[in-house]
């Protein structure tokens, strides 16, 4: 039953994907992309990947869509029309793409089937991870354990990627604060949606809950799906909502650009510092066991701290990027 439902979702996904490519209206494409993200998130959930589903929903369907819409507001909503839609080159491209897809499909027949317990993925590392999560880290969520401890270095790299993107966008577009008269994003006057009573009231009502959810996801990551990335995205979403409702200026006065920069840098540094503490305390980088007398306890501390670092950086970067885009609209 679940499998069939999965297949149904995936078929929808495929159709959506093709529609995305086909449509000439970029706005439609972005919306469809959001739908596709949700479909993927749902599929992930069916595939037992709750954390990833949450992330895909928050980032793929949420933040990513907001960014695309922001960009569209500043550029144009439609692709330019072309006269020759079916040239030889596009046929050639189509052919190549088709052939490659067929090759990939051809290769699948040698692959382990979905859910096969004898697949190398299941047989080789997975048991160790499950077992060690239980014995050495003692938190329920194995994903968090692998993410934060066993492969914590990857996660550090990932934070650095986010940080780099933040640095890059700020370098390219300038910070929201530095451009003149910051104003409302994606709407034509300065005051956000302030004139619209219903959304505004409701938004204000929701924002605390969203923030609360963010913090819950942040600190509950060891026990259920969630963690710094998702939390950072959710917290950023709440700030973005605030900026939409109350205007860019108000949002910036709540969290000024300087603070955002400090968040971007500080979160990364916090992560790094926890790792370096491992070296200082006589073990290896990112070995949390030495953070406390009891290694398991140390692991808990380490994971908590680095997840906080992740959350801070992600929130800082996403809000900064949003401001940078929004400042563009009024500049």
């Amino acid at each position: 039953m679940t499998t069939l439902f999965g297949i149904f979702l995936l078929t929808l996904l495929m159709i959506t994907g093709m529609a995305i490519v086909h449509t000439r209206n970029l706005f439609v494409a972005v919306m469809l992309m959001g739908i596709a993200s949700l479909l993927i998130a749902a599929s992930f959930f069916l595939l037992d990947a709750a954390d990833v589903a949450l992330t895909e929903a928050a980032i793929g369907a949420g933040i990513s869509t907001v960014l695309f819409l922001g960009a569209l507001a500043l550029t144009s909503e439609r692709e330019r029309k072309r006269r020759r839609s079916l040239s030889t080159s596009s046929l050639l491209q189509f052919g190549i793409v088709g052939v490659v897809a067929l090759i990939v499909i051809w290769a699948t027949f040698d692959q382990p089937r979905l859910g096969s317990p004898s697949a190398p993925v299941q047989a080789h590392l997975t048991p160790w991870y499950i077992e060690s999560t239980r014995d050495l880290i003692d938190i329920p969520n194995a994903v968090t354990a692998v993410l934060a401890s066993f492969r914590g270095y990857d996660t550090l790299g990932e934070v650095v990627v986010v940080f780099t993107a933040g640095v890059g966008v700020l370098f390219l577009l300038g910070t929201g604060a530095s451009s003149r008269a910051a104003g409302a994003p994606l709407s034509e006057d300065n005051a956000g949606l302030r004139h619209y009573l219903i959304p505004r009231i409701l938004g204000r009502l929701l924002i605390p809950f969203i923030l609360l959810l963010g913090f819950y996801v942040q600190f509950h990551g060891e026990y259920g799906p969630g963690g710094g990335f998702q939390a950072g995205a959710i917290i950023a979403a709440s700030v973005i909502l605030y900026a939409l409702l109350e205007g860019e200026q108000r949002a910036l006065s709540v969290i000024p650009q300087g603070v955002l920069l400090a968040m971007m840098a500080g979160g990364t540094l916090l992560f790094g510092a926890v790792g370096v503490a491992g070296i200082v305390l006589g073990s290896n980088f990112l070995d949390y066991s030495v953070l406390s007398e009891d290694p398991v306890n140390g692991q808990h501390w380490g994971i908590l701290l680095i997840e906080m670092g992740i959350g801070i950086t992600v929130a800082g970067v996403l809000i900064s990027i949003f401001h940078a885009f929004a400042a563009r609209a009024t500049a």
Binding site: L193, Y196, I198, P199, L202, L205, L206, F209
Partner: protein, 113 residues
């Protein structure tokens, strides 16, 4: 016995919700302009969501999941009308006028001319 009753009730609710959503979907496809489509979508959507969630709640019984579902329901009831309102307001602001009379029977492209 009780279980079966709850099961039946829940499935009825789920089915009704599904039908509602389906009708809403057809409405969005068939209605002639933005406002009517929104009308179709938002009403049936809310109703469908309520029914489906109630159905699932019955399935879940008295557990944490039911509480969560309740919270979700509250949020849905808050957000989806608001979203519809915001959409309609901004459409009006953007200059999309509701169609009336004869133009209702024209296709989109004809109406634009």
């Amino acid at each position: 016995m009780m279980d079966i009753a709850i099961d039946i009730a829940s499935w009825v609710l789920l089915a009704l919700g599904g039908v509602n959503l389906l009708i809403g979907g057809i409405g969005v496809l068939r209605m002639p302009d933005l406002y009517t489509r929104m009308h179709a979508a938002s009403l049936t959507d809310s109703m469908g969501a309520i029914l489906v969630i109630l159905g699932i709640m019955l399935q879940a019984g008295l557990s944490l999941a039911t509480v969560k579902l309740g919270v979700i329901l509250v949020f849905l009831l808050l957000t989806s009308p608001t979203a519809a309102n915001a959409l309609a307001a901004s459409a009006l602001l953007a200059g999309v006028t509701p169609r009336t009379g004869q133009s209702l029977h024209l296709s989109d492209s004809e109406a634009r001319e």
